[in-house]
């Protein structure tokens, strides 16, 4: 195994060397950094040209210059940009921004895409399946910059206007209710009577909830409070139990419910900690405590076969924790929106954070970052989730045709067990590798997104590098993105052989 990894890495290094050599020379011969200065006869400019030639070592031919760059790289020095900053510091600032941009989007796209793809596969050839196929192809065909303009208009500008009154018009309520009715009826499906019942229930529930939100102007003063949290918590507990062990497992259900009860009891102490010690450390410690408690609860409730029970309670506690965090952020909403920097227009259309916002208030800056991530995340999610829907649907369909699924059914296992334990897990194997490779690919692909939303990440650096003929900067960006791509491929291969025991790497 180690020999295999070693061999792969050595090949990767050779490949990286070759492609960087080609890119360097291509970029060097295709542009002239002195273009703007050449025409001038001013002696001052001549001096400047001479200085630039010296600074950029333009008198050295590009292939030789590449090796100078490589020598510096091997000693850990990425060089200076043309404006004199170290490339490494520029990259150090840009990488976290880009990761912030794509991390949430990838996560949401993966979860949503796999979920919808699986439902679509289980309802193969239903109307829902056809609709999902159409939607995913449509999203697949959308240029991201085009979507971004639409999102800016309708989700940011119009939504900010809407927040002024926070009253949802009856037309919108009706529209949303019909859409949600159709969606749930299609997902759950059944015979005609059942479809209409589900449509009625889902539509009516949506209408009631939206009317309530509109009447109380909830969107202007959002919050969940100690009443909504346990209600949602119980829902989560049942949902997690259903997916993770099945509702028949009383111990799992009870431990999940106990976790929710514990969360509710600790609601006010948590709020106190949030206010008293704002910061990522407190959140992290609270999360650790929550997970630790969940493990303990699971341990207490389960008589035998503790694994699934503990898994259920831990999942419940994580989801509940996220809800409590969202509640806290919602409480920050009103004071945040009323600050001068935000001035009642909370959803921003450009840049990665609000520079006018006074620093020092943890919850404000946390909310600020999340809100700035909001639009780009939606745009990227819309674009990339289509691929996951298609892929997970195809994979699950293939898996469901396998003999071991038939065996599992013949053993008399419940459909939930067959799907979640036998089919879903095997679907995840090829998906994992795709996700890993995609994640690396998106970093290069976020160039357009960054441009549209005015973020200062890797894409901007790359853009600057090209338009300013900044070779060292360009190579720095390329070095990071291509090493990531190559590493991701390696990780994907290793993961694949780890997850699927039938595939073993041949180590010669």
């Amino acid at each position: 195994m180690l020999a295999y990894i070693g061999r792969r890495i050595s090949i990767l290094i050779v490949i990286l060397f070759g492609s960087s050599f080609i890119l360097y020379n291509l970029a060097a011969i295709s542009g002239d950094p002195l273009e703007g200065l050449r025409g001038s006869t001013d002696p001052k400019v001549k001096n400047e040209v001479a200085a630039l030639i010296h600074q950029l070592q333009l008198n050295v031919p590009p292939p030789a210059r590449y090796f100078i760059w490589l020598k510096h790289l091997l000693s850990g020095n990425l060089g200076l940009t043309r404006s004199g900053n170290a490339v490494s510091t520029e990259l150090g600032q840009a990488i976290p921004v880009t990761i912030r941009l794509i991390f949430m989007a990838t996560l949401i796209a993966v979860v949503l895409g796999i979920g919808l793809g699986i439902v679509s596969a289980l309802r193969q050839y239903s109307r829902f399946d056809y609709a999902m196929t159409f939607v995913s192809f449509l999203l697949y065909s959308l240029p991201i910059f085009w979507v971004a303009v639409l999102l800016k208009q309708y989700l940011a500008i119009s939504f900010n206007n809407f927040l002024g009154s926070a009253v949802i018009s009856p037309w919108w309520i009706a529209g949303f209710s019909v859409v949600s009715g159709i969606f749930w009826a299609a997902v759950i499906s059944g015979d005609r009577k059942r479809v209409f019942t589900i449509f009625g229930i889902a539509g009516a529930a949506t209408a009631v909830v939206l009317s309530f939100l509109s009447a109380t102007k909830w969107f202007a003063h959002p919050g969940l409070g100690p009443i909504m949290i346990p209600a949602m918590g119980i829902g989560i507990a049942y949902a997690v139990t259903f997916l993770s062990t099945g509702l028949g497992n009383i111990a799992a259900r009870n431990s999940a419910l106990a976790v929710v009860a514990l969360g509710e009891i600790s609601y006010f102490p948590t709020q106190y900690i949030f206010n008293k010690y704002p910061g990522p450390l407190a959140i992290f410690l609270l999360a650790c405590v929550a997970i630790g408690l969940a493990v303990a609860v699971g341990f207490l409730f389960a008589k035998e076969d503790r694994g699934p029970v503990i898994r259920t309670s831990v999942l419940t506690s994580i989801l509940l924790g996220i809800i409590i965090l969202i509640d806290k952020l919602m409480k920050t909403w009103v004071p945040y929106v009323n600050t001068d920097a935000v001035n009642n227009r909370p959803i921003p259309t450009i840049s990665e954070s609000n520079s006018l916002l006074a620093p020092g208030h943890f919850w404000f800056s946390f909310l600020d970052i999340l809100l700035h991530v909001f639009l780009p995340t939606i745009a990227l999610t819309l674009i990339s989730f289509a691929g996951y829907v298609r892929y997970s649907r195809g994979t699950l369909l293939e898996v469901m045709n396998q003999d071991y699924i038939r065996t599992a059914r013949a053993k008399g296992l419940t459909e939930r067990t067959v799907i979640m334990r036998h089919a879903f897990r095997n679907t995840l194997i090829p998906l994992t590798t795709i996700i890993v490779v995609d994640f690396a690919g998106i970093i290069g692909g976020a160039i357009i997104t960054e441009r549209v939303f005015g973020w200062q990440g890797m894409g901007t650096l790359f853009n600057n590098a090209i338009t300013n003929f900044d070779l060292t900067l360009l190579m720095g960006v390329f070095f990071v993105t291509s090493s990531l791509a190559v590493l991701a491929n390696l990780v994907a291969d290793l993961l694949y052989s780890y997850l699927d025991p039938r595939i073993r790497v041949v180590s010669k």
């Binding site: 090949i11 050779v14 490949i15 990286l16 070759g18 492609s19 080609i22 890119l23 291509l26 970029a27 295709s30 542009g31 193969q124 050839y125 196929t133 159409f134 192809f137 449509l138 697949y140 065909s141 959308l142 240029p143 991201i144 910059f145 085009w146 303009v149 208009q153 500008i157 293939e398 045709n401 690919g441 290069g444 692909g445 160039i447 357009i448 441009r451 790359f462 853009n463 090209i466 338009t467 360009l474 960006v477 390329f478 993105t481 291509s482 791509a485 190559v486 491929n489």
Partner: protein, 358 residues
């Protein structure tokens, strides 16, 4: 009754079983006929094929173009370089160059009007611009598809067929191209040679988008070359060339066609993306991505400058995607079509009738 008679020819063993219905359907048909039938049954693909052909004819016949000594006169009155007077009449206040297209059959203005998609800042007819942009984008899409398809097939076929050292070298070379993100290399070349035109852009983008295809073709060749019919051909003394072209390639053509369509649908987005960044097709030439990037800020005031090019991109890419999906369904023998309730009932009826008869 044709379905019924087809079922009657052979005894249906299990009641309305899927496999039986499929076997009956494909009985006595050649591979090509089966594929054609399956494709024709994919409604989305057929609609897309018709739409795309319609768009192609519409877009390419609209404007004048010259091919060597041949001159073609398009049916649209403006060219994309002409600057007719900006129309302000009939537009909302403070706006000029609004679209004259009216789809309301009862209004007086029904029809295309003088400038159906409106005019841009300096009065150029936006319909002509969008047509020109769509031409460029479609051209780029086809060239990328052709170049990438050719390179990918050749590389994949050679390395899959000959294996060993050649395979190792070619596949390392493929890895090598994969490490260079297409958008980065496209931008680098596009920024410096952007004014060489769309054809050149498409050619060099094609040089970097073939990697996925070559891997697929290689896998296909690796498995096909071990099959009995290849052994038979080899024993009969067929040359490598004959085996590749006559025996393996026809069997791998499904994979190739499907992934070429997928390359094409992503190519149109790649081109528009590069043009949006300013590294693709550059002014004074026009492409759909370039139009959107030029007029994205006028979305609130003059939305038509934003909507029309976008809709063309989406419709073209959507059509290509659906055609690709239809082709995949048609070529993939594992794909099972949905069996309608009616067919199932017919099959059951026949099998019951036969049982009672025997």
């Amino acid at each position: 009754m044709s379905i019924l008679s087809r079922f009657k020819r052979k005894k249906v063993e299990s009641e309305g079983s899927q496999v039986d219905i499929f076997n009956k359907e494909t009985e006595g048909l050649s591979q090509g006929q089966i594929v054609r039938r399956r494709f024709l049954r994919h409604r989305g693909a057929i609609i897309s094929l018709i739409t795309l052909s319609g768009i192609l004819i519409f877009v390419f016949s609209a404007l004048n173009f010259q091919l060597g000594p041949l001159k073609y006169h398009g049916w649209w009155k403006y060219s994309y370089t002409e600057q007719p007077e900006l129309r302000t009449q009939g537009c909302p206040q403070f706006l000029s160059g609004c679209p004259t297209l009216s789809l309301n059959p009862f209004s007086k203005a029904f029809g295309l009007g003088d400038h159906p998609f409106g005019q841009d800042d300096i009065g150029r007819d936006y319909f002509a611009l969008v047509m020109r942009g769509a031409q460029r984008s479609i051209l780029v899409m086809f060239i990328i598809g052709a170049v990438a398809g050719l390179i990918g097939t050749v590389v994949g076929a050679i390395s899959g067929f000959y294996r060993g050292k050649i395979d190792a070298i070619l596949m390392r070379f493929t890895d090598f191209v994969i490490t260079i993100p297409t958008i980065i290399i496209g931008s680098v070349i596009g920024f410096h040679f952007g004014n060489l035109g769309a054809t050149f852009l498409a050619l060099y983008l094609g040089l970097f988008t073939w990697t996925g295809l070559s891997r697929l073709v290689r896998g296909e060749f690796l498995s096909l070359r071990e099959r009995e019919f290849v052994d038979a051909a080899r024993v009969a003394g067929a040359s490598d060339r004959r085996i590749i072209f006559k025996h393996i390639l026809p069997n791998a053509v499904g994979v190739i066609i499907v992934s070429v369509t997928l390359i094409m649908s992503s190519a149109i987005l790649l081109e528009t993306g590069l043009s949006y960044l300013g590294f693709g097709v550059v002014s004074p030439d026009v492409s759909l991505g370039l139009l959107i990037s030029q007029y994205q800020d006028s979305f609130t005031t003059r939305p038509w400058l934003f909507w029309y090019p976008g809709i063309f991109i989406i419709v073209i890419a959507l059509c290509v995607n659906f055609i690709g999906d239809g082709l995949r369904d048609a070529f993939d023998p594992r794909q099972r079509r949905r069996i309608s309730r009616k067919e199932r009932a017919t099959a059951r009826q026949i099998s019951r009738a036969e049982k009672s008869a025997s």
